[in-house]
Symmetry: C2
Subunit: 353 residues, 2 copies
């Protein structure tokens, strides 16, 4: 019997026990329930060593070429918001996932799910935005797909982009290289993207008070590599914010993480809006931001390179990796206190991506 | 100024004139309006030589490695239908797009858009189906994404899969290699998938009268290459059916195509159902089917290889490439007539993918 005919060996996917019978919004929020959906429902079913690494990109070895491969769907509402739109988000988001794997992007796919009744002029604006973002980073859209779904479905447009990139020799960032003593850098202020979406959706604040920071991080990461900085790990703190992403990394690397509240770049408009809404900026989604882990003796040099680059002028050194409290992220507050910054069960916001 | 900062040169996307102000279902139907959306709205905006080829996969040269890359979103309703479900469709559909580019698949991405309220048990069944299909072809899912959208959106589950594969040296199928005199082969009966979906959705026929032919074509194509058959071009006749896909190829290759009605493998149950519904099987979507163009002197050998393979037992030689009527597909009917088989404006069915 030919290979393609044989039923695969081994057990079929186990049916996990769950407190939930149905998908809830928090399953997509980047917190504990997202993690549970992934680890209990999806991974046991599709298990393989590459997927198990749960990086922002998979890195494959194809005939000696190290190829990074990633995918993301974009379901943001509204489609246009202060500082950005779903089109550039779909380009930068996926290219940033390649960049934090150390990869240089080579090509994008673009799959559109359009809702019947979407004004073609809206589609045109989104395509223009996609063109502009892809051209800015000189990455071609090489393959695509368009589906149309019935009126009332699909929120106007859903976009999926997948990206492929090449990881140059010598680069191997990842949780496995995180070491106690590492410094954690970020290239700029946090909380802007999530709050801008929320504000645009709810008409909470005067237009343009909060602007999304949607943008690329790849050119910044290339600058670090060119300067010879040895990067231990990188991650973009999107869904679930800085807190959720650092929790994941602490858990994957088996280390503790200390966050220095006084170093956190929280702009006054974010602080004000978050306080008003009872939200913690640490859990708010960002775009165009990257967390970078480097050894202590590289931290100053890395910070200097970041700050000299237009995408990193407001870079900060916000945390340390510790041997203590493995798996936990602990905030050292301005007034000298300490508190555990845990994964949230769902998300603290209405869904924003 | 750094490259990443500079606004791309050249004009922004031109705004086309259109008879439509809004997206309509037919824009996703695989016919004339789909073509128009692609050629007038999307391509001028994202123009580049690889995308312009409009193959089922893009083929890139990365450091000497020929990499095929493709994407498809799956929005089928119902999620489960006689003969298949959205999960295996999402695996086979994308792997088939790699296969018809001559590529051997290496990895899949999986992006789920879940509707709030989807029973987790339904998700589990879909994941099991994805696992089974991917394992059958020994292709790992290496990267993924999950988003949750509000209740009422998303039809339960939308799936996007992207696939990457390697094109072995010496393989270069494509419209540019189609020549007058070529024979056109198909590996089995047409019309089953589209009608099975339609029947399941409308409760038209007793369950199981019509079963989708969802399945892989890669192993069959590998068998042809292993047997030394020189393949000029391949395409899987999914959305828009055999007629639409052959129209595209005739137009891209600048040749005429003759279809032999008496050779078309239309099963009695398809003929009956199509007649009842006033549909033409030539425009009905197929899965697990492939159209193969070979030189005349290779046709018999190719047909023999196909028929010896479990995925091609009912293979037929259904058409010829001609110098006459370039860009047109002409059906030679059983009773000796001739009629042009044109692109439909939209689709003849309610949307099925």
């Amino acid at each position: 019997m030919a290979d393609w005919q044989r039923e695969p060996e081994g057990f079929s996917c186990p049916l996990p026990k769950s407190d939930y019978q149905e998908v809830v919004l928090a399953h997509g929020g980047g917190g504990r329930l997202s993690r549970q959906l992934l680890e209990e429902w999806i991974l046991p079913c599709l298990e393989n060593p590459v997927l198990r690494q749960l990086g922002d990109s998979a890195v494959l070895n194809l005939e000696g070429l190290r190829l990074a491969f990633t995918t993301d769907s974009y379901t943001v509402t509204p489609l246009f918001f202060p500082g950005g739109d779903i089109g550039e988000l779909a380009v930068y988001g996926t290219l940033n996932d390649l960049a934090v794997a150390g990869a240089q992007p080579r090509a994008l796919s673009l799959a559109l799910i359009l809702e019947e009744g979407l004004p073609l002029e809206t589609l045109h604006r989104i395509l223009e935005s996609i063109r502009r973002a892809a051209a800015r980073l000189q990455v071609p859209v090489v393959t695509g797909d368009t589906k149309v779904v019935d009126r009332g479905k699909g929120d106007g447009v859903y976009i999926n982009t997948a990206g492929i990139g090449v990881v140059p020799p010598g680069r191997d960032p990842g949780p496995h290289r995180i070491r106690p003593g590492d410094h954690i850098l970020i290239n700029g202020p946090i909380g802007l993207h999530g709050l801008a979406i929320l504000a645009a959706r709810q008409n909470l604040f005067p237009e343009e008070t909060l602007k999304s920071d949607t943008g690329p991080v790849g050119p910044l990461i290339e600058a670090l590599y060119e300067a010879g900085v040895e990067i231990h790990a990188m991650r973009d703190p999107t869904r679930g914010g800085v807190a959720s992403v650092l929790n994941e990394l602490a858990s994957q690397a088996g280390v503790g993480i200390t966050l220095l509240e006084q170093e956190l770049p929280v702009p006054p408009e974010v602080e004000g809006a978050a306080e008003l809404l009872g939200l913690d900026p640490l859990y708010i989604a960002n775009e165009g931001k990257v967390l970078i882990f480097v050894a202590e003796d590289q931290a100053d040099r890395a910070l200097e390179v970041l700050r000299q680059h237009p995408l990193g002028r407001e870079a900060r050194d916000i945390g340390r990796v510790t041997e203590e409290h493995p798996g936990l992220v602990v905030l050292h507050t301005v007034i000298g206190g300490r508190r555990v910054v845990d994964l949230l069960s769902g998300e603290q916001l209405p869904r924003i991506c």
